[in-house]
Symmetry: C2
């Protein structure tokens, strides 16, 4: 009988924000798999490290960060094939994913390649979004408020495509993720929309390198693992 | 010295989806607090039950479910005062919250009452949103996709106010939460928007009473703890 693939959300970075289920499945794992980006250390593996048993086999997918997606696709193809071999031999494979596997997670690339032929179980994890709200001390949504989550590259693409910036106005709470090299343009869009006052900047939430600042005091450069949280209206019932 | 208030996300229902940190803090708790709705059992307490030490003191806030918000406000006032007494006596208080405390959580009402005078730490939890995606086997957002989360009462209010239904079209992924008595009208709005085909109905995700169905096959009535997940476009890179 084939093994099962577990796509496991590890949460935002603090190992204590892993779920009990993630910790259990990692602790029982004979085979784990995870991506590294362009040869760097794996953030996912570093979150899970204390729970990985000695002797566990590790399938590492080295994903190049290129504009052309073909090399990354090839890396996931190779990784998926290595996982298939383990599954065909009856072994379960635990795939480590920072955050939540189905929320902007790279696990989706493996899921697409394996779901037709194998049993896949996805274990949700704490996302960086609610972690940022927690560490910033900003309740992000109450009662019937509308929340929009918007990756920075998409916001910039809409700005530069001349689209109306409805997306900044249609929700009560706005989360702009994946700032990185788009930070300066995102900041300008938020300023133009008159939302800087309500905006909080958060970097690497729940890790030792966490930064929480009003957007107006944020540094000039932002890493990929950063976001802006804009909560427009306090719930009148609070 | 005053104690600290911990607002602890317990995740969507499966006790194994609690974080390690939540389990540790509950296991160390001398005083816990949680709301019950209209005298019913506390869902939050039921998730945490196995981790609550014997002899822990329990502050129960019985929150009436009335259209007039004043009685609920009064219940949170009484609860906050009981928590204050414990904090003033130097005890920490662990407040149990289903899901995530700052994501449509009732903890926000206590946070508003206590944050000025006491140290408050919020421990994020797994939300029902990513849990629904996980149990439905539907990756909810990839790369630069935009996600909008919309409580059903707000969708219905916009429909009945004659607002354009831009909110159903402006995002790549749409999550309609808190269906309850609004379910029939939400379903009609989704049908009118031509989105029924992509819509999945999920009820009480991760609990023994979990239901996952295409929206077209969903039952006529939905509980409060249910949602519809609409993922419009598969990532072309998957």
């Amino acid at each position: 009988m084939s093994g099962t693939v577990y796509g496991i959300g590890l949460g935002p970075g603090d190992p204590e924000l892993m779920t009990l289920k993630a910790a259990r499945l990692i602790g029982e794992a004979k085979v784990i798999a995870y991506p590294t980006l362009a040869g760097g250390e794996s953030f996912a593996r570093s979150i899970a490290a204390a729970y990985i048993p000695k002797g566990t086999r590790e399938i590492v997918m080295d994903v190049p960060m290129t504009v052309d997606r073909a090399p990354a696709q090839a890396a996931y193809d190779i990784g998926a094939n290595a996982i298939r071999s383990a599954l065909d031999a009856g072994e379960d494979v635990v795939v480590l994913c920072e955050g939540d596997p189905f929320f902007y997670g790279s696990f989706m690339y493996l899921f697409a390649r394996l779901k037709r032929d194998y049993a896949v179980e996805v274990v949700p994890g704490v996302t960086s979004v609610t972690t940022c709200a927690a560490v910033a001390g900003v309740p992000m949504a109450a009662r019937n408020e509308v929340v929009t989550i918007l990756p920075a590259p998409e916001l910039v693409a809409r700005m530069e495509g001349g689209h109306p910036m409805d997306v900044l106005h249609g929700a009560d709470t706005l989360v702009v993720m994946k700032l990185g090299r788009h930070f300066a343009r995102v900041r300008a869009a938020i300023e133009t929309a008159g939302l800087t006052e309500e905006a909080v900047y958060i970097e690497r939430a729940s890790t030792p390198h966490e930064v929480v600042l009003p957007l107006s005091q944020a540094p000039e450069k932002a890493p990929y693992f950063s976001m802006i949280l804009i909560v427009k209206g306090a719930d009148p019932w609070l």
